[in-house]
Subunit: 137 residues, 2 copies
DNA sequence: CAGGATCCTAAACGATACTG
DNA sequence: CAGTATCGTTTAGGATCCTG
């Protein structure tokens, strides 16, 4: 850990190659999915839906700052990836419910885990930034 | 869990409030950190650095498609948040090494967990999209 | 109510050139 | 080598209006 002239020579183990083979490759399809899941609103929508089914306006109200357009687009991304189930009731006025598929719950839990960790460690992070700690009184 | 007409009325438990209190609030400082960590290149840089110390050009080569500018900016974000340690050796030509702090390793593991999950389930996801499964021959 | 269509701005991003 | 500076392009994102 103290030889500045030798750089870490790639842990070329088989498992590493197989498990995280192409994420670093520019054309890896995972990147698209990752983009949806880690998008500004994707994270919040997934976490919100972990708490249960929501209607469009519920999500809009819950996820502070999201616009109609972006919420719709985010939901379509996540639906397209098989994470979100869209259930439309043919009534007037329209009634649409969004929920997580099993796949979505799985990925949502990991996203929530990450988000929770950040909130929990926000204090240390802000201190690293030299910013005031707003989590403690 | 099966009443479509009653939406989840906010789990106003203390723990929920404390643990994920303000993520949904527009001005929550966590969002900024989340943005860095889940950014297009932030994810890849964190995962790359989990494998060990890298020099700038190593990262540049490893993370396919990243530009000098974005790599530099991403590293500065992560350094500012206390996730990445920048070690500069005053030699010529310049020699700079990037590694993860304990905090960075912690968050990196969660990001990697998410990324790995996506790669592992890419097959199911692409099928949900109706796209061909490129992970199986 | 749920969103599609349109228009527009700000931000992200990339390519290139340049410097200590 | 490890960046910064600058510029041009692309995309994200928001506001508004409109419809079933």
């Amino acid at each position: 850990m103290n030889a500045p002239d030798t750089l870490t020579p790639e842990p070329t183990t088989l498992t590493a190659q197989l498990r995280r083979g192409n994420l670093f490759a520019e054309q890896c399809p995972s990147r698209e999915v990752l983009k949806h899941v880690t998008s500004r609103w994707g994270v919040l929508v997934l976490v919100a839906l972990l708490e249960g089914t929501h209607r469009f306006s519920d999500l809009r109200r819950k996820v502070g700052g999201v616009s109609e357009k972006m919420l719709a687009q985010t939901l379509q991304w996540l639906e397209g990836d098989g994470f979100v189930l869209r259930k439309s009731y043919p009534v007037v006025p329209p009634h649409v419910e969004y929920s997580l598929t099993p796949l979505g719950r799985d990925v949502g839990l990991r996203v929530q885990d990450l988000a929770d960790w950040i909130e929990l460690n926000l204090s240390s992070i802000l201190q690293a930034r030299g910013e005031p700690d707003r989590t403690a009184p």
